[in-house]
Every structure is written in C-alpha cells, then in structure tokens.
Symmetry: C2
Subunit: 283 residues, 2 copies
C-alpha cells in the first residue's frame, strides 16, 4: 500500500510531489498522457522565473522531469475510478489498481463535455456526467451511455446494475473495450426532448431514451469527488484550511478547488497540501 | 508620481510586477545589485517547473529578465529610506528619489548584522539597528554609528539631530560619502559593557559609548517598515488579508511577512499582493 497517491501531474500535483519526496515520503503520481492535454499550448508569461515565455505543455513536461530527477515515481495513465477501501483509497487506472492511505486530487479543471446541440439544455434533465451519482434515479429506465473506452466500461458496470436496457453510444469512435450491451456506433447529432431529454438524434436515426450518461475520455477530479460524496460547490471541490476534503485522507489542490486559476496559485497549493498530507500521514 | 514602486526584485517582487504590468499598471521595481546578494548560491530544487536544479542567483536573474521582457521598468539601486509623502510615499535610493501612490516591500529577509563579539549580547542594550526608531532614547548621549556609505549617511542625519557627539566608525572600510562628524576607521574587535554597552574595542584602542547604531550596507524592509511605524511581529511585517500593512498603501509580500520561506510562497504572495494593489489604486 502506498502512503500517498497524487492524481494529476500539473503544477499542483508535481509541486506537492516535490515537497513530499523531500520530506521523505514516496508519492506515486499518476497523470494523463500529455498528448491528451488540450488547451495547454498557450504561452505562460506570468509564472515567475522563466525569462522567456514557455508553452504550458512544455512547463508540464519540465515539471515531470524535475520530479523524476528527484526520484519521484510517475506513471502516465488515466485514472477512471477512485474509491474508499477498508483503509484508505483504491485508485483504478485503465491498466492497473493502486491502494494508498491518502490521495491528493490535482487534475486541474479540464473536462470532457460534448459539443452537441442539446447537451447543455438537458444536462441535469436527463443527461448526467456521473453514473455513480445519478444512476440510481434511472432504475429500470431506457438508458444510454456515451463513451468508447475504459472509463465508459467502468461507468457502464454501475448502470447495468440499475437497468437492463443500457445502450452504448460510441459517437462515431471505435470501441476500445469489450461490453455485453448493445452498441450504437452512429455519430450523435443532437439531444432532443421537451422538459426532459426524450431522444438521441444520430446520423442514422432517432433513438428514444430516458437518461444519457456521458463517459467519454477520462473522468475529471470533480467526477471522482462526486463518486465519493465529496462536497463540491460551484464546480469547485471544497477543502478546509488543510486542503482536505470532507473525506478524511482525501486532499485536493490547484484549479479544482477554485480561486485564481493561475500556476503560481496551483504551485503554492501543492506545497501547502504536501505539508498537510505529511502531517496527516504522520499523525 | 509613480502608481506603485516595488522594492526588491526577488520572487515576490517580480511576481507582483508581472501581474501588475499585465493588469495595465507600470510598476517601478528597485532591487539591490545581485553582486551584493549573499546566500543565494544554493541550488533550488523544489520550485516547480525547472527540470534541472537552478542556482538561486540565476533564478533571480531569470526573473528580472522575464519582467524586463514584459516591459517592466527595473532599476538596480539600494533603497536607503522610505517615507510617507503628502500623498503616498517617497522612496530614496543611493542615487535618486522617487514618489509613488503605493509601495510593495518585497526585499526578502537577508539583513546586515555584525559578526563581532558582543553584538548579540548588547543588541537592544545600547546597540540599535534603526536610528529613526531608537535615536530619540539617546538624546545628548555619546553615540557611534557603524557604516561607511549612503545608508549610514542617512541614518547619521537623524542622529545628528538628537546628539552633538556622534562618531562614525567605518569598521576598516573606506568612507564612501561625506560627513562632518568625527570618523574612526579602525576595525572593531568587540563591544563590551556590563548590563549595557560601554565601549567599542577597536584594533587601535577602546572608545567609550552610550549607544551604537549599525548602518552598514543597505537597510532591510524591516528597517524601512520600522522607520514608518509599521507593525512588526517576531521579525515579520504584519499584513492583513490584502497584504497591506497598518499603513494605507504600504504592502508587503514574500519572506518578510513570515510563513514558509519558500519561493513558491513568495511568488504566490506577489501575485496576490498585485491583485490587492490593483484594487487599491483603482478604488
């Protein structure tokens, strides 16, 4: 069992890892493939210390190398689930499972949504981003889950327990996992309905649904947090002055806890959270 | 008149400058000659973003270049006095004087002290680091001021008002300014006395004194702050949640306000202070 797993290897996660490593702990850092990082090509000009503007992606790579040089264990993988174990937490990635006493959520705020007409309108009115959170309200209903990989498979397992009628919509993508459910590979054109969603319109026709669960790509920290019952306010994970969520041993830092969405703040968060995590693990 | 002068071009000062410049203000940053920076040759390993350890001095240089590249006005000079003007503040350096509506103190905590036997013992018992703060208690006494440059000259002006018997001790250094007082160029060996200091022992003999004021090198932020009546607690400048001291328009950030003496914290401070200064100047 690990002492501490850090999910996310951006500024907050790596900053925490640097401090924890130097404090004598051996954090395991799990971050997404940098290739999957969109929106990180902007030049960073206001983070102290770099005489020339640096591309966000390069800064992240540099931070990962920095941590590795210090001996921090870093794995590139996508976390698809976070659960409480008998003691501590179970972190499941697309390829493995890890146990730890404490977890630091530091994945930033980028999240997969669907740029499809009707998505915003019906979000919360039949469209959900968290099967574990909302699945129960759709017992025995006609459900769709949108996704094509390990994260979808994980969410689908839960949905299959609440309904016998769950169809997988790959939205034109290739299915990269094995499922026993019906699979619809058509491209989704829009979601329609009245007060609530009623149909998925694809390029191959309309399909009636009661509920649609989005599980494309990989889940965000907010998704993990929701799965565990963490208090989320205004799309920010709530933490106390020690960067701890309402769940003991579960910490969060960086953009996901709100405040200024700045690297300087995320780095500071990481340092401070490391301190609290160290105290927590040595109490 | 400038809107904002930042004293110090380390992480806190430059971070604040970057944010203020990008917010449309034109901060003037005044920092000490890097050659004078001792104790900055350590390698920095725990500040996020640098794949290889970077020497403290190089990081500071890199930050200065970063700010200059963004168009920030940076002057290398030693601030020797900070006073309140009719509106705002008057910042005096060894070569010039500047007025500004607000000031950010971000000089870090390095300060000149004397590694001479008796210095620690008699500090507060006849040895003072601030003529403006303590000079009044030595009216008409036999005083010594230790120093050789512009800062000493500035402090001496004040002492000459409280006593007609002030001798300048250059401690073996060459006098780099003009004074009308007696000058003793002998090297100081130790300070002696009973409950309070009574004599300066030099390599050329003993000199009786009632009070000794140290004004070697350049003053620290704590010295400036003390001159202005800023609340200082446990050698930290006290600031509110907006990084403002008890004097309106005077802000402080970085090591001098206490907390973790870490670059990540200083950079964060600078960013946050910039925000408060911006609000203050636009209120």
């Amino acid at each position: 069992m690990k002492k501490i797993i850090i999910i996310g290897y951006g500024p907050a996660g790596v900053s925490a890892a640097l401090y924890l490593k130097r404090a004598g702990l051996n954090p395991l850092v799990i971050g997404k493939d940098l290739g999957a990082l969109d929106g990180y090509s902007d030049l960073v000009e206001n983070y102290y210390g770099f005489s020339e503007p640096i591309e966000g992606r390069k800064l992240i790579q540099s931070g990962v190398v920095q941590a590795k040089n210090l001996g921090v264990e870093i794995i590139t993988d996508s976390v698809i689930s976070l659960k409480q174990g008998e003691k501590g937490f179970i972190v499941t990635t697309t390829t493995n499972q890890y146990a730890s006493e404490a977890v630091l959520l530091a994945t930033g705020k980028t999240r997969q949504t669907l740029n499809i007409p009707g998505f915003k309108k019906f979000r919360g009115k039949g469209i959900s981003l968290c099967a574990t959170c909302d699945g129960y309200f759709y017992r025995r209903k006609k459900l769709a889950i949108v996704g094509c990989g390990a994260y979808m498979q994980h969410e689908l397992e839960y949905l299959n327990r609440v309904s016998k009628d769950v169809t997988v919509f790959t939205h034109g993508h290739e299915l990269t996992c094995t499922v026993e459910n019906d699979v619809n590979t058509a491209k989704i054109i829009r979601f329609i309905g009245d007060e609530k969603i009623s149909h998925i319109v694809t390029d191959q026709g309309e399909v009636p649904v009661d509920g649609v669960f989005i599980a494309l790509g990989v889940p965000s920290s907010i998704d993990f947090a929701s799965q565990l019952g963490v208090i989320v306010e205004k799309n920010n994970i709530s933490v106390d002055e020690n960067y701890q969520t309402n769940i003991e041993g579960l910490f969060a830092a960086g953009d996901i806890i709100g405040g200024k969405l700045q690297i300087a703040k995320a780095v500071y968060d990481g340092m401070q959270a490391a301190d609290s995590i160290y105290s927590y693990l040595n109490k």
